[in-house]
């Protein structure tokens, strides 16, 4: 098993390559979902507030 991870001595280059790729892809996804949810919650709040104030003026 450890022989597999060593990859003929090149594991120190191969695994960081895969880890960096994973980290970048996961952080893009996380940032995207986080921002989207934040904005949609904000929009929801604004719409409800508006509807409360002037009786359903749809924007």
């Amino acid at each position: 098993m450890s022989e597999y991870f060593e990859m003929g001595g090149h594991g120190i280059y191969i695994w960081p390559a895969y880890m960096i790729a994973t980290a970048v892809i996961v952080s893009i996804l996380a940032h995207t979902l986080h921002t989207m949810r934040q904005r949609e919650r904000h929009l929801d709040l604004l719409r409800r507030k508006r509807r409360g104030v002037d009786d359903g003026d749809e924007v």
Binding site: V24, S27, E40
Partner: protein, 256 residues
């Protein structure tokens, strides 16, 4: 509504046309249909691709095990170019037809393209050290990809540099178009100049110079990355539409 404010809003290419001819609700509907498929296919392709890349594909006769870096390096390089190309096309559409959805697609693409360029540069460096004996050389291929990275950063910075999103979109769209000259330079850099970087093996006019045991994981990773891009694009455009609607409401409230 006061006449002067109405004129200002009518003149703003960002707010009203969005509801006049580019239908964000239609995009949201189509996006909702596409999203589960693109997300599922992305996970499937990357999953199978990783399995083939790490366990099934053979070591290269010259590069030994380091060839496994290729399965992230090459697809992310393809994505870096593909995403920039799609930004060039949508920026051109945004400038010519003033289609706000095209602006949003370009804007939503930029962070994904930046990410794949980072992956490409970092994995290339990690591959260069054992194979070339150096992390970096200032040759045409590596330098032109570094310039692509700065173009992505410049696009994002310029897009966010204005209070008025329409002006930011326009300025960054022009930058995207100017930066398009870099795309053929990247593609042909390995043919035009002497370089340590190897030339294209898959997209040759004759038969690809890659054996199927290596070609399959490569293509699966590339498809997986493409579906990932589509998924993120749908989510980010949805996010941008929400932001535009928030701005509209806040503008309307400021008007009183």
């Amino acid at each position: 509504m006061p006449e002067i404010l109405r004129a200002k809003i009518d003149g703003n290419p960002y707010i009203l046309p969005m509801f006049r001819f580019a239908n964000p609700n239609r995009f949201l509907r189509i996006g909702k249909g596409i999203m589960p498929w693109s997300a599922g296919l992305s996970i499937l392709c990357i999953g199978v691709g990783l399995y083939l890349a790490l366990f099934v594909s053979p070591p290269d006769y010259q590069q030994k095990e380091t060839v496994r870096i290729m399965y992230v390096h090459v697809p992310s390089a393809w994505m870096a170019l593909f995403i920039y190309s799609s930004m060039v096309i949508s920026s051109a559409m945004a400038l010519i037809w003033k289609h706000p959805l095209a602006d949003l697609i370009a804007k939503a693409s930029a962070p994904v393209g930046t990410g794949f360029t980072i992956i490409c540069l970092a994995t290339g460096s990690l591959w260069g050290k054992p194979m070339w004996g150096t992390w970096w050389v200032w040759d045409a291929r590596l330098t032109s990809v570094l310039i692509l990275f700065f173009l992505y950063l410049g696009y994002i910075a310029l897009n966010n540099a204005f209070d008025d999103p329409a002006r930011g979109a326009k300025a960054s769209a022009v930058l995207a178009l100017v930066g398009a000259v870099n795309l053929p330079i990247i593609k042909f850099s390995v043919d035009w100049w002497n370089t340590l970087h190897q030339p294209a093996s898959v997209t040759r006019l004759d038969v690809p110079a890659v054996h199927s045991s290596m070609l399959w994981p490569l293509l699966l990773m590339a498809f997986g990355f493409t579906f990932f891009y589509v998924t993120i694009l749908v989510l980010r455009v949805r996010s941008e539409i929400a932001a535009a609607k928030i701005r509209n409401i806040q503008l309307a409230e400021a008007r009183g």
